[in-house]
Symmetry: C2
Subunit: 130 residues, 2 copies
């Protein structure tokens, strides 16, 4: 089986199996470095609140003008946090006139959820075979 076949299998085996599994096999250095960037972006309370505000908004997108007032921070600071979320692939945005509008990239949160999900039938930590 060629490497290309393996890639194709990966793409068709469902979202829960699509990614290097954090819980199923040791990550290599490149996988860990890439994934750490995304988790690092989530490792800040302001960014988590921004992401939750964006992700939970009915209509799917939020004007930066509706995000900034929720924080005791300057607009440049809020914009910097939004930039880090965007660089991590968690949100995307578009400028329309005066304002920038943000929305969730659900493929990235789906991916994170999948790699944090235990494989089906995984043994309990204290009940596994040696």
């Amino acid at each position: 089986m060629s490497n290309q076949d393996l890639v194709l299998l990966d793409q068709t085996s469902g979202s829960a199996d699509c990614c290097p599994g954090l819980l199923t096999a040791p990550l290599d250095g490149d996988q860990a470095a890439e994934l750490a960037k995304v988790f690092k972006a989530l490792g800040d309370p302001v960014r988590l609140r921004l992401l939750s505000m964006i992700a939970s908004r009915a209509g799917g997108e939020v004007c930066v003008c509706d995000l900034t007032p929720a924080f005791d921070l300057s607009q440049p600071t809020v914009s910097h946090h939004l930039k880090l979320l965007r660089q991590a692939g968690l949100i995307d945005c578009e400028r329309r006139g005066t304002w920038v509008y943000y929305w969730l990239v659900p493929e990235m949160t789906d991916r994170l959820a999948a790699i944090l999900t235990r494989p089906t039938g995984a043994p309990a930590p204290d009940g596994a075979a040696s």
Copy 2:
């Protein structure tokens, strides 16, 4: 309905709904601060590799003596990273004789997977009602 009722509902509505949903409602400051600590612990390549080595180990636990050789780092440095993962609630450990043994706390990764999972029937970002 009182706040207490809401808490009780939260506790009985199943693992996928057990936690403040990052994608379903804006997090408050306390929720965001608590969650950010866990994501911050994951926001480092060495810690992600350690976690994946521990989580994927058949038998469910790993001796620190088997973790350290995989890294070009001193044992105190590896132990420091392990301590941060433990403080975040992602792993736990026990000393037996000379060595410390580590294992995954799957309840924490389950919780993270749940809060990153889109609610069933969630509208696509570009197809939602305004």
